[in-house]
Symmetry: C2
Subunit: 427 residues, 2 copies
């Protein structure tokens, strides 16, 4: 890619919803765009829990970034990891020592889960942010059943088959609903020595209700539907310790086979590095970077920060939520503001358009809030299905996912029930 | 599973073609069967190279063993690793210290590649036997292109993009054909800074021709078709050293981006453990156990050894080949001989029914030998397609694979082009 005379260089860090939407918006514009990511693929995070619970396989919710952007002639995709910035020299420094210069920089490096100062818990309670996380969770869940089966077959009895999910937000709800369902409806007929339907699925939430950012009636509906699936919902339950086969909730120790972490936000460490390059900017407790209404960094008009890495109140004074939809809209606005600079037009402030939010709870159950409309049950589930099929990146994947869902719906069979990696000879 | 009075116990080790066919044959018989494997799934090995080259995803060529056997009421599947045997006490010892007793034992533990005394080469030249191997090879192949793209983008040039495949048997041919095809037809449009079609694919074979166990005209046809795809076929070329970025062929060092190993057979180490329990039995150079015509171990009528772990001449005096088809037939014979014992009938010697063999070379190219019939090109490819769809385990996977193939055939698109695991920040 040779740039013509004086084409501006835009570097985008991160190929999630934010980075990808910025790159698409800039496709065909008179700028040279470089998108850097540590992975070669975009991951459709809202469906990760379905990979973790064996409904979908990895290829069905992820697409190679360079394939998604193959028809964007001015966008180059580079696999690489960013180490730091030199904002004065307008350079991005990569881990391997090489450098990239930019005229504009869009940082969309995202977030992981926060363990609230207990990073040592991650080993025993993995979170769900990447394809690798999803495959690891799948491995642990299926191995727990395999271990119990083996123990029961060899000794006539087996230890408790307890799944603990920590955090009652959308991810926690989706994971616990899906695990309860897989145990009762899918695995039950495959295992002979154990009764897979006896598996306990426990959802722990520190606050008084699940889905605490939703209205109360939605939380109540979600909890009802979880209970219908056999999930034990424990609100006001703060987890205070995590070990390999047990967790401490308040003062009570509870034995677990698998513990999953679905709470807390820790923005990418690149947030701090960015703040250090700006004027009077400090990251918030979650490591997010406060930004101006035009999404740029204070004192660095050429640097935009978007998505889960950014902290921002929109025009109405409400904090923009850490959702894929918000990141996507921010990506478009950041790209637009670059183009407006090029055309000598004033920048626009970011306006978040809330399309509503939803969470699914197993097959045929969900909750949804769209403005003042609150929906739950089968109808919400159909809405969820429809919206996520529309949002899925790439025509191919959409067909693949739809087909898997139709199959799973009618047969209750899961296609992706493979344990890969070490099978960890059961103990 | 409570056994009724005096039901005999059959333990099967290994869930490949041999072990699985024995388990199926014994399903519904008045014996209690336990199938032990280190993995929870059966892998359809003939299509592993398609996972390695991004055509299929793991779930499409592998099925959970307990799902395949869910309707076999007397067959229990256990995840576990066998450490040793105590043939006098008729016990199998597992790695974790537990034991399983048996009345009959069928050992179908398979083989891996042999590095001819250079096991240290495996790290730089992985073989292709498991799903994990296939995903690792995919990762290396795709990362090689990503690295070259990155280097070219940052510096304007890149090192050689050389793929070396060592071994001109069916696996070597299939891998090299598929890699040449993916470079020229699939990746070319995704990469912008490099010309993916310039990738070199080199196939090294120590003997004078590829597919040396096939008739000469088949070898010639295979070589022709490989060359049409741009593969450099180097026969009479013995690889004498393997390092991370180069290999030595004869006296010549050749730079490589990725080296793959597709030759040699090393039977499971369980072979030696078995031989130690038998009378006057020594494993052959590949670690295989010689067995009697009824497939039992000398002096241990209750132990059968089948598949790639066994060494056997069939009734015509010809060695039984290390093919899935042979293992499958042996599994049935071993199971039949157990049932004949139960009914007081004499055991039958194993007769190998040669259904022919075939290897595919990319899209629309293949070679096949069925008795005296030799076929190559498009017709052979259609035959290959048909036979492998029939053989694939499980109705579901067959549909899935057919659909992927139809899609890939018409669009030349590959769905499974994800790099999972460490993306190994490019250097």
């Amino acid at each position: 890619m040779k740039s013509e005379t004086k084409r501006l260089k835009v570097v985008i860090i991160g190929g999630g919803f934010g980075g990808l939407s910025a790159a698409k918006k800039l496709s065909g514009s008179p700028v040279d765009v470089t998108l850097i990511d540590r992975k070669n693929h975009h991951t459709f995070q809202p469906l990760l829990y379905q990979v973790a619970t064996s409904v979908l396989s990895a290829g069905e919710i992820a697409s190679p970034l360079r394939h998604i952007l193959r028809r964007a002639p001015n966008v180059e995709v580079i696999l690489g990891e960013v180490a730091d910035f030199d904002a004065d020299a307008r350079r991005v420094l990569l881990k391997d020592g090489s450098e990239l210069s930019y005229d504009y920089l869009i940082v969309a490096a995202g977030a992981r889960h926060s363990y609230f100062g207990h990073d040592e818990w991650e080993h025993d309670a993995p979170g769900l942010k990447t394809i690798e996380d999803a495959l690891e969770i799948r491995r642990r869940v299926l191995l727990a059943f395999e271990r119990a089966e083996r123990e029961a077959y060899l000794t006539g009895q087996h230890g408790p088959l307890n799944f603990a999910i920590i955090g009652g937000g959308p991810t926690g709800i989706e994971l616990s609903g899906a695990i309860a369902e897989i145990a009762r409806q899918v695995l039950a007929s495959d295992f002979k020595a154990i009764d897979a339907t006896k598996a306990r699925v426990m959802l722990f939430e520190g606050l008084p209700r699940v889905l605490s950012v939703y209205p109360e009636d939605i939380s109540r509906k979600a909890e009802e539907q979880l209970k219908e699936l056999g999930v034990e919902v424990r609100t006001n339950s703060m987890v205070t310790a995590v070990e390999s086969n047990r967790i401490k909730v308040g003062d009570e120790w509870i034995r677990t086979s698998v513990t999953l972490w679905a709470t807390g936000v820790a923005a990418s460490p690149l947030g701090k590095k960015l703040a250090a390059q700006a004027q009077d900017v400090q990251v918030d407790r979650a490591g997010r970077v406060p930004i101006a209404p035009d999404l740029s960094l204070s004192g660095r008009r050429e640097i935009f920060v978007i998505g889960d890495l950014a902290s921002l109140k929109d025009a109405n004074g409400k904090p923009v939520p850490g959702l894929g939809a918000a990141a996507l809209q921010e990506g478009r606005t950041a790209a637009s503001n670059i183009l407006r600079d090029l055309h000598g037009e004033p920048r626009l402030p970011f306006r978040y358009f809330d399309k509503g939010s939803m969470a699914t709870i197993g097959r045929k159950r969900a909750v949804a809030q769209i403005g003042r409309l609150h929906v739950s049950g089968y109808l919400a589930w159909l809405m969820w299905l429809f919206v996520h099929l529309i949002l899925l990146v790439g025509f191919r994947n959409r067909l693949m996912v739809m087909r898997e869902w139709v199959w799973a719906f009618f047969t209750r069979e899961r296609s992706a029930r493979l344990i890969t990696g070490e099978t960890d000879t059961p103990t």
